[in-house]
């Protein structure tokens, strides 16, 4: 067969002139690729890359809301000042603790949820609908739901604990009638972790379930025929096969949790005092509420190198596991 000319390729399109030449150029993968990629790249440069550079510049300047120009370079002064704030050190610690605790909870619960949802059973549709609901809410609204569930006076959890005798006079957690979840340092942080697990579990489960359903059925059936117990199948076949997707799920969860301030902003307001502070909320309070743009930028810049390194390592690891 003769090599097809452009005119036959484009059917009735004009073969000559400007349109024809543009059509020809678009047949080259590099050119068409650039044209299709350009809008997204331009958008990301304008709204992510440029602001990112401005943020870095801000963190080395002395800009405030009153005087937002980046005219004087103060070096690492902001980072030094930020490190000396007790609230910052607490926020850094809490951000790490909350993220790790959430990720651990998610890995355990998502593995269980995936084992349940990988099967067919009656009423599965309804279960899927109810299971997805926490993820369907904006985070701020989930936080408000939990604010009411953990209310200092009217928490239904306290009411139940009181009924079964855990709270109240004579109970192991008594004699107080209330737990005051959000008013105590560790209970407050624990509540934030619980909310984060609750709202991110559906997404993590979908990611892991996708990997679980890719495990060939024959492998599982063969193991069953060979007489392997459920636990053995779970830890010998399923968990190792899921490792790459679990890493992706961990990464997504960690990112959703570490950058979110509304859970803390609405639940504990970083309190009591600053003991429940986390980095994004501290950056917001410094940068916007107190108007110190430079320090706000320095605070939120702190985690980026760590996050980037962790993500690269995790993705490399996941793709290597994938190839084996």
């Amino acid at each position: 067969m003769n090599a097809p000319s452009t005119s036959t390729r484009q059917g009735a399109a004009v073969p000559e002139g400007l349109r024809g030449r543009i059509g020809d150029a678009l047949e080259r993968p590099g050119v068409l690729g650039t044209v299709m990629l350009a809008p997204a790249i331009l958008y990301i440069v304008a709204f992510v890359a440029v602001p990112f550079c401005i943020a870095i510049a801000l963190s080395f300047s002395n800009a405030t809301v009153g005087d937002p120009t980046i005219d004087s370079f103060v070096g690492l002064e902001n980072f030094r000042a930020v490190l000396q704030q007790e609230a910052f050190v607490t926020a850094l610690r809490n951000s790490v603790i909350v993220t790790i605790a959430t990720v651990v909870g998610i890995v355990v619960l998502a593995t269980i949820a995936v084992e349940l949802l990988a099967r067919d059973f009656r009423g599965k549709r309804l279960v899927q609908v109810l299971f997805m609901m926490p993820w369907a809410m904006p985070v701020a609204l989930s936080a408000i739901t939990w604010l009411w569930l953990l209310d200092s006076q009217f928490s239904p959890i306290d009411w139940l604990l009181l009924k079964v005798g855990v709270l109240g006079p004579g109970g192991p957690l008594g004699p107080a009638q209330h737990m005051y979840y959000l008013g105590r340092e560790w209970l407050g942080l624990g509540s934030v972790v619980f909310l984060d697990i609750w709202r991110t579990l559906p997404l993590a489960t979908i990611i892991v379930l996708a990997g679980r359903l890719s495990i060939p059925r024959e492998r599982l059936e063969q193991a069953q025929i060979d007489g392997a117990s459920f636990m053995r199948i779970l830890f010998r076949i399923i968990v190792p096969a899921l490792a790459p997707v679990l890493i992706v799920a961990i990464l997504f969860t960690a990112l959703l949790v570490i950058g979110e301030m509304s859970s803390v902003a609405l639940l504990t307001r970083g309190g009591p005092g600053h003991s429940g502070q986390i980095l994004p909320y501290w950056a917001y309070l410094k940068g916007i509420e107190s108007g110190d743009l430079a320090q706000g930028a320095a605070i939120s810049l702190f985690l980026f190198p760590v996050l980037a390194a962790a993500a690269i390592v995790a993705l490399r690891f996941a793709s290597r596991l994938h190839r084996d």
């Binding site: 990301i44 943020a55 109810l130 739901t145 009217f154 609750w198 890719s214 902003a265 706000g296």
Partner: protein, 277 residues
Amino acid sequence: MNRQARKTSFYAAVVLLVLFSFLPIIYAVITIFKKESELFTPGSNPFIYEQGATLEHLTYLFTNTQFPTFLWNSVVIGLFVVAITVLLAVPAAYALARLTGRWGESSGMAIFLVYLIPPTLLFIPLFRVVVWLNLANSIWALVVVLPTITVPFCTWLLLGFFRSVPRELDEAALLDGCSRFAAFRKVVLPQALPGIGACIVFAFSLSLSNYIYSVTFVSESASRNLSAGVPTELIRGDVYFWPSLMAATAIVAIPLGIAYGLLFDYLVRGFQSAESG
């Protein structure tokens, strides 16, 4: 373990999982219809109506607050963000998967790095961009800014999708005389529809969920969305309008939860291709 016991324990585990996710929402729904006097009676059973139910909090939410406006703004913002995301991410993902050669191969990682830059870092400079574009205090500020979150995420998701479509398909289309773009539109795109569906769901959900941009870029209450509007409008200092707040939450969560639940298998399939690509 015999079969019956195994079945029972399986269903028990499913029920526990559902209760974990759904119990807080059931409690929110119960609260909506409680009378104020009963709600704040110490020691009263929080799960039943001892003094009867009322609709006053629900009507209050729709007639005395700006909740309908917030809901409308959220929907408009969501639809525009979805449209922008699909228009930018679909061609970009296809280009990276097929057209840019070696350069496109390591792009998955690069896109992920963009996604890693936290909104808490960008909101200060982005606020200036918004002011410069003259969009502060309008919903268009969020329409312009929220795709920064959804475009990288959806491009990453679609990249795996396009990679999982066999190359032979587009090559056959090219041999049949299609132009490269036509091969993409007529052959590859239909194969990737589940992935695009997953992107639409995720983009809408992420646009609804964002709190920090919503709070900082829009302070005029008529232009606020649900995330920013509901907490500020229905929490006045120390006064919380609990039943109305719970109504606002449930009205958003239940229809969307049903939609996501029915799309569940579709979403899983979307991720399956993204992960295998």
